[in-house]
């Protein structure tokens, strides 16, 4: 099943480069997404075998992130069909290796590389996979070939490649940390094996390795102060790509940090990694708050909100076992909400033709469904009940209190408050009032509305009731995190 999950996007991607017909290619995109989604459920149904020394395997943590990525990809793929039909780029349609075919192919390969990253248990394979996610997604960001999108893509490619190169030094340091004890000779460099023998690893080198991983994968995850590529890439790329970057890709990088964090915990160095994670998390939240309050571009605003939520996840991962369940729940809630918001942002951009906040008013009048979803998304991203984000943020705050991190909790509440006010002032006036331009009120296109509607409904359901199997998955993933 693990191989199937990798082969589905590989075939789909290759096929997309080959197919000449635009309509057929779009069908392949949705079909690939559906097959991948189904395969994830089949895998879930089969349960987990012990990983052993395998390089590719799935555990509860991996399955959770895979589920998030696959769900989001399915929704983004459906949306993309509408997007591609509405933004015809090629002067000659139905051409092989046209810009659209390269876009679709890279889009599917992007899913494949994320799947590989989530399933890799070997530190080297994980590095490879994360670097290839950068390479597969860079052409997606520059799809429109406008100067601004090229600038964003260049920054993304360079900053992330350099960051990930530093994570490779982290890989080397991990190998060296295992070289001190002769008993560890020939130890396979898998996350599991390293965690099992964590006590025998040399502590200075393993601390160094964590710092390099945190800087390297933290760049990709968008933790401040390494976040500089993120607002540019998220605001300039086509909306379904922004949704995937924010909802799926950032999580993959987070998974890498988590897996090394587990090793440090097992080595008795949890204090060290916890403090670093919480420090960077708080920094990310406040920095995001600073830029959200004065933001004039609504897609950049959503990007900064992703930095904020990555900060929350980092804090929750670093605060000890009480917050881990909340962290897992929050990873899913944030991805679903942010996916929905970016897709709606795409609808607003298509209707109003601008990303400037002040020039968009009266969304509800022009596009009733999108307008209502926009408000729902705002409430959800700020953690207002009855949405799932409320449950997860509350659970994290409660855990912080239980474990005695009062200062962190107070600072986090402060940042959440600032961000709530900032977003309220910016997003709500966009929805109400008279439309700023004379726009025809037409029924909304199903391709554009149904995916965000489903994502929004999912967050709402998660806020009221977590299905039993999913609840078990969150708990299993959390127990993997806090196994020390």
């Amino acid at each position: 099943m693990i191989r199937t999950l990798l082969f589905i996007p590989l075939f789909g991607g290759l096929l997309s480069f080959m197919i000449a017909s635009d309509r057929l290619r779009r069908a392949v995109l949705v079909l690939t997404a559906l097959c991948h989604f189904t395969a994830v459920f089949v895998l879930w149904n089969k349960g987990f075998a012990p990983l052993g020394d395998t390089w590719l395997g799935i555990d509860a943590l991996g399955l959770l992130f895979l589920l998030i990525a696959s769900t989001l990809f399915l929704m983004a793929a459906v949306y993309t069909v509408g997007y591609l039909a509405g933004h015809p780029h090629a002067s000659i349609p139905d051409k092989r290796f046209s810009r659209e075919s390269i876009f679709t192919g890279s889009f599917i390969f992007f899913l494949g590389t994320m799947t590989l990253a989530i399933m890799s248990q070997h530190v080297g394979v994980f590095w490879m996979a994360i670097e290839s996610t950068t390479l597969a997604s860079a052409p997606l960001i520059s799809y429109q070939h406008s100067p601004r999108s090229l600038e964003a893509a260049w920054k993304y490619l360079l900053i992330c490649s350099v960051g990930i190169a530093l994570a490779l030094i982290g890989n080397l340091a991990l190998v060296v940390s295992a070289a001190f004890d002769p008993a560890l000779h020939g130890l396979p460099m898998t996350f599991g094996a390293l965690a099992d023998h964590a006590g025998a690893l040399q502590s200075t080198w393993i601390k160094g390795a964590f710092v390099f991983f945190l800087v390297g994968y933290g760049t990709k995850m968008g933790l401040a102060p390494m976040h500089t590529w993120l607002p540019d890439a998220h605001s300039e790329s086509p909306s379904p790509v922004s949704a995937l970057l924010s909802g799926a890709l950032l999580n993959c990088a987070f998974l890498g940090i988590l897996r090394v964090h587990i090793i440090l915990g097992k080595a008795g160095l949890a204090m060290f990694s916890n403090q670093l994670l919480m420090g960077l998390g708080l920094l990310s939240m406040f920095l995001a708050g600073w830029f959200i309050v004065q933001q004039t571009n609504f897609k950049r605003l959503l990007a900064y909100s992703s930095i904020e939520h990555m900060g929350i996840l980092a804090i929750a991962a670093g605060a000890g076992t009480q917050t881990h369940f909340g962290a897992m729940l929050h990873a899913m809630n944030h991805s679903l909400t942010k996916g929905m918001l970016f897709l709606i942002a795409g609808n607003i951009l298509a209707a109003f033709g601008t990303k400037t906040v002040s020039r968009v008013t009266g969304i509800i009048r022009v596009m009733p469904i999108s307008g209502i979803l926009w408000i729902a998304g705002f409430l959800s991203i700020c953690g207002v009940p009855p949405f799932g984000t409320f449950v997860s943020e509350f659970s994290i705050l409660y855990g912080l209190g239980q474990s005695g991190h009062w200062i962190v909790m107070a600072l986090m509440l402060l940042a959440l408050g600032i961000i709530f006010v900032g977003m309220f002032r910016i997003l709500i006036p966009m929805a109400y009032g008279e439309p700023s331009q004379e726009l025809p009120v037409s029924p909304e296109n199903g391709w554009y509305v149904i995916p965000p509607l489903i994502l929004g409904a999912a967050v709402l359901v998660l806020g009221c009731w977590i299905p039993q199997p999913l609840n078990r998955l969150f708990a299993q993933a959390a127990s993997l995190l806090g196994a020390y």
């Binding site: 052409p139 260049w154 350099v162 030094i169 070289a179 460099m189």
Partner: protein, 212 residues
């Protein structure tokens, strides 16, 4: 002895890159550096080579010191009008930083606890110096193509650290990392051409429309 000579050459090449004002010279230097790294693997390695180690060394040298420099040369011919580097930090100051990096790397090697296995401190120093040089080039040189070269230098440095610390990855992983670097520089090359078409130059100081 041969190791010492190669390390000395690597230090000199790094300093030369920091002081170099010509883009063509920079590309030649990075190619030579990758070639020396390849030799270093042959010299340092103890014991017999297996066939797949030969494949890894052979493909590393081919990709990093032949294919990628050729690719960069091509991008240079198609895009750049002014062939000099146009740094943010002057050449003599860059050289001074280079010497500083030599000192820092040497100090770090002395201070770090070294594993009891066979490692070569001099090569670790050269690797760290190369990593620093790469990062410095990326930060202080403004052309997209020099930043790509800086990325290659950084990768060379990490490769040197890998061989010095005897941190060999399995065959597939080594080749996978190499493939990522190759495709990465390839995509950067394509993007440089696109940037050139859109902006009429590849000066990244003009990429400033996105900011807060």
């Amino acid at each position: 002895m041969i190791t010492h000579i190669i390390v000395a050459l690597l230090v000199l090449i790094n300093l030369q890159m920091l002081g170099s004002s010509r883009l063509g010279g920079l590309i030649r230097a990075v190619a030579l550096e990758a070639l020396l790294m390849g030799f270093l693997t042959l010299v340092i390695h103890t014991g017999q080579f297996t066939w797949y180690e030969w494949v890894v060394i052979g493909s590393t040298i081919t990709v990093k010191s032949v294919l990628l420099p050729l690719l960069l040369k091509r991008a240079l011919h198609e895009t750049v009008v002014r062939r000099d580097v146009e740094p943010l930090v002057g050449y003599s100051l860059s050289l001074f930083f280079g010497l500083l990096f030599v000192g820092i790397s040497a100090l770090a090697v002395v201070k770090m606890p070294m594993p009891p296995i066979h490692t070569s401190p001099l090569v670790i120093m050269a690797g760290m110096l190369t990593v620093c040089t790469g990062l410095f080039l990326i930060i202080t040189r403004t052309k997209a193509i020099t930043q790509t070269i800086g990325y290659l230098v950084l990768e060379n440095g990490i490769y040197a650290l890998g061989i010095a610390l005897a941190a060999e990855s399995p065959f597939i992983v080594e080749l996978g990392i190499l493939l990522d670097v190759f495709v990465g520089v390839f995509v950067m090359g394509i993007m440089i051409e696109n940037i050139n078409r859109e902006f009429d130059n590849i000066d990244t100081t003009q990429l400033t429309s996105l900011k807060d």
